[in-house]
Each structure stands twice: as C-alpha cells, then as structure tokens.
Subunit: 280 residues, 2 copies
C-alpha cells in the first residue's frame, strides 16, 4: 500500500497523496516544513501540514498570481513579492522584460533554502542577478516603503498564524503607500466556494483601499475548494482595458492574453456575489 499523506479540511473532507519519499521534515522558527515526493504530483512543499505547491501544477498558481498585475501595469520595473519563498512567483516575474529588480520578502529562510535544494524548477529564478531576497516580516517591510514598487504580489500561505496580518486592512493600506502612482498589487485570496465569508471580507477591504479592483479564479485541485481566487488592486490602471499582451509570455502554460481579458467576466455567479459592486 505504501505511505499516504492526507490533508484534511474542516467538515470531513480531505485530499490524499501517495508519498514516495520524505526529503525534508523540520520545525523551522516559524512553521512545520515538509518536502515530500508524491506519486501523482511530483515533489510537494507542505507548511504546517497544508499543501503549498507541487511540481505538477505549480504553474497554474504562479502564472495566475503574477501575470495579471504585471500585464495591467504599463511598464513594471520594480517588483516586490511577499511570501513566495519557493521562488515560483519570482520565476514568472522575470519573464517580463521590463523588470529591473525583484525583491522577495520571505519570513522563513528555511523555506527558500529547502526549495532551492529540492525544487529547482520552481526556485530557479532566485539566482537571477535582478533578484534580492530579504528575510523579514512582510508587514513590517512594506510599512517602511513608500512609492517604491510598480507591482507588489502577496504570495502568502492561508490566513492562519503568521499570515493573518497579510489579509488585513492596515496591510492593504501599507501596500497602497508602497506602490508608485501606476502601482498594481495582487494577492491570493482563498476559495470563494470553501471560504465565501472570508472572500467577501477580504475583497471589501481591498476595495476600500484601491480605486480599481477585480477578482479572478483558477482551478487548483490541490487546494480546498479547487476554485481558487486572486484579487487585483490598482491605483489607476484598469485590469482589462489597460491589459497589455506581452510576447515573452508565450511560454506560459496556463495564462494567455485572451484569458486575461475574459477571466473577470468568467467568475461564477456565487463568487461574483461576494464582491463589492465596484469590482470590474
């Protein structure tokens, strides 16, 4: 039979994976970190028992959190990624030829180190000369920045423990201040099917800070609810009308320009109904 790992969610539902081998298993300063090799999805990173990323399907999440904000901004040069220690989001940011610098602000140095060792396909971009890594609390780091970044991407874990503050009104206000005048931010904002009340709360908070906002979704089978959401907050640029087609994104496997233009309209009704009326 072999070893199976089951991520159980509240209410009697879980996703179970056959494990070929455990490659890392440690308690870091911040969380329980495991890196396992699974039969179905290849190598997989777990933090506090929750699946963060798998080699098989990480492209869906990383392309979808990155390209919508960067294609909405007219010329993104300076980008900040908060969280995202596996490096997948940084890898996607680097596809954009306009980008001159990417800062990765990750609280847990061990996440970066373990992903560098065991997830080379995901973490490869971290060695790029345009990238600098800061090991710090994203909340404090953003608070001390002003009009500095063209795009900020909040690639956080679920809103439990240390990540709670990454889904707060004060944090969104700090992000607003840390962005330049054309600034665009995106964040993963959980599942509208599994966590509708949370999605309602978070989108209303983002909508109270940013004048132009939108929510879009992607299907990710390793996340509870499967229908996963991302929210864009923009100071000025419109995420559909101002969207640019970036030729360098031809190598993407999920994102494409037609999808970008359609994805806000393609949100299911039960998810749209959670959003402020002002969302695109």
């Amino acid at each position: 039979m072999g070893l199976w790992y089951t991520e159980k969610h509240r209410l009697g539902f879980g996703i179970t994976y056959k494990i070929k081998r455990t490659l890392a298993d440690e308690q870091t300063e911040f969380q329980k970190l495991e890196l396992v090799d699974t039969e179905a999805f290849g190598r997989m990173l777990l933090l506090d028992g929750l699946v963060m990323t798998t080699v098989f399907d990480e492209f869906i999440y990383h392309e979808m959190i990155t390209h919508p904000p960067l294609c909405t901004h007219p010329n993104p040069r300076r980008v900040l990624v908060i969280g995202g220690g596996d490096g997948g989001t940084v890898r996607e940011v680097l596809r954009h030829p306009s980008v001159e610098s990417v800062e990765l602000c990750e609280i847990d140095r061990r996440v970066v180190e373990v992903c560098r060792e065991y997830l080379p396909e995901t973490s490869c971009g971290l060695s790029d000369p345009r990238v600098s890594i800061v090991y710090a609390d994203g909340i404090e780091y953003v608070k001390n920045a002003e009009a500095k970044y063209d795009c900020i991407i909040v690639d956080s874990t679920d809103p439990i423990g240390p990540a709670v503050g990454l889904f707060s009104l004060d944090f969104y206000k700090s992000i607003y201040r840390a962005l330049t005048d054309d600034g665009v931010f995106s964040a993963q904002t959980e599942s509208p099917l599994a966590e509708p009340d949370f999605v309602r709360k978070v989108t209303h908070e983002i909508g109270s800070v940013f004048p132009v906002c939108g929510l879009y979704t992607a299907a990710i089978q390793t996340y509870p609810g499967a229908l996963w959401s991302f929210t864009i907050g923009s100071k000025r640029c419109h995420p559909v009308n101002d969207a640019r087609e970036v030729p360098e994104l031809k190598g993407c496997r999920h994102y494409h320009y037609g999808l970008h233009r359609a994805m806000f309209d393609a949100v299911p009704k039960f998810a749209r109904e959670l959003l402020p009326d002002s969302f695109v």
Copy 2:
C-alpha cells in the same frame, strides 16, 4: 474518527470524505450504486465507486452542462438528456421557458429511483409534466432518432464500462443526425489536466462531426483534476455570437450570461492546446 470514503485515482491521489450514513448500497443490473450522506458535501451519489454528484456542488456541473447549449440555440423546444439519471440536468433544462418536452434516456432505472428517493433537490424536475423518462441504452436510442431534438445533452459517467460508447465518433454522428437544423449538443468531456490525451481525442472527434464547436471549463473539486471540461457541438449557431441572455436564468448560482460570453476565451492555455484549431 468515524467512517471515511476515499475515491482513489490512478497515480496515487485521492479525495476522501467523512461519511455520516449510508442510505443505499446495491449492485444494479449495470453498476454498483451507493448513496451516502457526507459531512462536507451532504448527500452524494457514487457509481462504481466514483463520485457522480453531491448536494453541495451539483449546481456547478448541472448549470454548466445545460445552459450553454440551450442559450446557444435560438428557441430550444425539444430536448434530450442522455444519462443524467439524478435529474439535475433536467431540472436546469426546465428553467428555459421555450422548452416543451424533455426526454431523459437513462440506462439504469435504479439510479432514477434512488435519486428520487434521496436527492429531492436534484431530481425534483423529473415529475414535471414536460418530462418523459426512457430506460434505454442512449447509443441505441439516439441511433433511431432523426432531426428530432433541438438540443441533446450527454450527461454521462466517465468513459469506463457501459459509458465508453458515449464518447465515440459513431455516437457523435448519431447525435448530429438526431438534431434539427439549428441543433446544439453538449457533453461533459472529462478533465484537461488529469486526462489530456482523452480530451484531445474526444474534441477532435466532435470537431470532425460538428461545424461549430467549443470547449469550456468549470472547477469541480469532487472530480479528479478539478478543472472539468464541457464541449459544445453545433450545426449552425455560434456559441458566443448567437448566445441569448435568458431572464429566467437569474436564479442560477454558477452560470450567468457574462460567463457564457467569456468562458471559451477563459480556457487555460494547456487545455486550449489540446483542441482542434477550428474550435471557437
């Protein structure tokens, strides 16, 4: 701990459900049929051990297989549903005021009987006077019909055992002949993420029979791959340009007119690349 049911897929992946109670468990003439009450998704129908439908999220599948073809046809009056013994698709068909008759062709009488007893929210439409139920093999039933239906919906199980023939070129040719001149058909066509080769094969077969075709997706967490696909084949009407906004669909929870117009463009790149170039 209680009892958990795990639907395991090939390659070491499964979805597991806490079971409160088993309501039906029998071997019918055609398949193993179980109806259980789950903690996370309410009542759930399983056929041959595979999750078919749950009270919690059946609206996603049933709205998405039904409304795109019926809103593409200018005036659907006669509709045939093949499979779909739980009645959810019939319930959605009946939202369309133009519909005068719905035939449900289900091979297994016990599926209808058990769903009528235990899934009243899903099966409610089966008692409508416009509905007639035929217990027959859908392949044979369609073969004997000619220019009879405005829409045909193939709401089948996975392409294993008795359902294999519902994913064949001959069957699509029979459907074409059974449709009127403006006829539109839809089918569930599995997951482009979990079964890319299958999706490629089936869409090319449908594309070789119908002049106007398109594929669209929905996230369904209880199906392997989570990104689920549906394919439309149409004799004449264009599924985007000819799409009608039907006011009676305001009560839907997933489908809406904006989604219909956007959903073909919102298909992820890895799924689009499986399709014939002729697809919309």
